[in-house]
């Protein structure tokens, strides 16, 4: 009976420790994003707000920039890859999120013409989908708490039910249109398997504190559940981890 009491007490303490660990991890693991700011409330000085050629470096939360400094613009028409999960490096786990959206290159004035044309929402949707022209892609990758804008994004089919996403990583905080700020590369193949989307690929980070080669594993269950596991390659070889399906 005394032994059962001790076992029960030990189990209770372990459960309590698991609760406390879960609370502290949930509060700290995602909380240090490079985009984390205490809000961007600020009145805009009239002279700066109306002067698009004047970049305002005064605030870390919001900036006025040239159009070239903004991510690619257009109407989002398809989520190519989206989601996040855990990653492993030298037996440790790294968090990686990959997000790529396909954009229709419609100009804002074209969209407003649709609004002014009294078309139904179905007609507006069909007009957006029917727009011909070269699609644009916009995306980013988040490795642990560092966000890398994606540039030179290329998406192409590969065989049956497979899509290859190939992109360069831009320096965190830089414009994705700045070709001189490329600090890495990611290529991942996503394909349909047994009712869900899975994939894998390769990530190389060259010029930041996260420098290294990573093996990327994706496990997406529908467009709202994506888990990406990243294993950093050992210098002597690679260590692969299985994906729980």
């Amino acid at each position: 009976m005394v032994k059962v009491d001790r076992i029960t007490t030990c189990l209770g303490l372990m459960v309590l420790l698991a609760i406390l660990t879960g609370i502290s991890y949930a509060q700290s693991s995602y909380g240090q994003s490079s985009y984390a700011q205490p809000g961007c409330a600020q009145p805009m000085p009239p002279d700066r707000a109306s002067s698009p050629d004047l970049a305002d470096p005064g605030s870390s939360e919001g900036r006025m920039m040239h159009k070239e400094g903004l991510p690619p613009m257009g109407v989002p028409v398809e989520m190519i890859v989206g989601g996040g999960g855990f990653a492993l490096q030298n037996n440790e786990t790294h968090l990686l999120r990959l997000n790529v959206v396909r954009l229709s290159p419609l100009e804002p004035e074209q969209i407003r013409d649709l609004l002014d044309s009294n078309k139904s929402i179905e007609e507006i949707r069909d007009a957006i989908k029917a727009e011909e022209g070269q699609s644009l892609y916009r995306g980013n990758m988040k490795l642990d708490d560092v966000v890398y804008p994606l540039t030179n994004i290329r998406v192409r089919p590969s065989g049956d039910n497979a899509t290859v996403v190939d992109a360069d990583l831009a320096l965190p905080g830089s414009s994705p249109t700045d070709q001189t700020s490329v600090v890495g590369h990611i290529m991942a193949t996503v394909y349909l398997s047994k009712g869900g989307w899975i994939g894998e690929g390769q990530l190389n980070v060259n010029s930041t504190a996260q420098k290294g080669s990573y093996h990327v594993l994706l496990d997406m269950m529908g467009h709202s559940h994506t888990k990406i596991f990243v294993t950093k390659k050992e210098s002597q070889g690679s260590e692969e981890r299985g994906v729980k399906k």
Partner: protein, 159 residues
């Protein structure tokens, strides 16, 4: 304490621990949103178009004309609930309910509008620029809860 009671308490603690551990392990679904919002000329109408995992976070959907494609997650919505005249200016508010692992919304305001005030909830960052007769405000954030954007702008006086 009786062993049976102690075991019962232990089991209750185990069930209470599951959601916390699951949260730490990232077992919760990830919510994403990638929208473009086009404000109409001189009216309160706006077209909301783009991708989101769950449209229930948009409180204005019930009062507007919209399409949500469940298989693709694409939303198409024309609404007059986001924008209100505010004296000589316009006030745009875009609140969302829920937690978003990734949040990216771009606002296109017509004409050479003057941005008067910008207010974002915690975790959001914005970039603003004028381009091709539009004021473009790009708002982005990660791991944000109940994100809200409030924009005050003034259209130029017509000649």
């Amino acid at each position: 304490m009786r062993p049976n009671l102690r075991l019962t308490v232990l089991l209750i603690m185990v069930f209470l621990a599951i959601p916390f551990v699951s949260t730490a392990l990232g077992a919760n679904g990830s919510e994403q949103i990638s929208l473009s919002i086009y404000v109409d000329n001189g009216s309160t109408n706006a077209l909301v178009v783009g991708y989101m995992d769950n449209p229930e976070g948009l409180p204005f959907l019930n009062a507007s004309e919209r399409i949500y494609e469940k298989d693709t997650g694409m939303l198409y919505d024309v609404t007059g609930s986001l924008i209100k005249p505010d004296g000589g200016s316009w006030s745009l508010k875009f609140p969302l309910k829920g937690h978003y692992d990734e949040y990216h919304v771009v606002f296109y305001i017509p004409g050479m509008a003057e941005l008067k005030e910008m207010d974002c909830s915690e975790g959001l960052e914005f970039l603003a620029s004028s381009y091709n007769n539009s004021l473009i405000i790009n708002v982005q954030g990660f791991d944000v809860s109940n994100p809200e954007v409030a924009i005050s702008y003034q259209e130029p006086e017509k000649d």
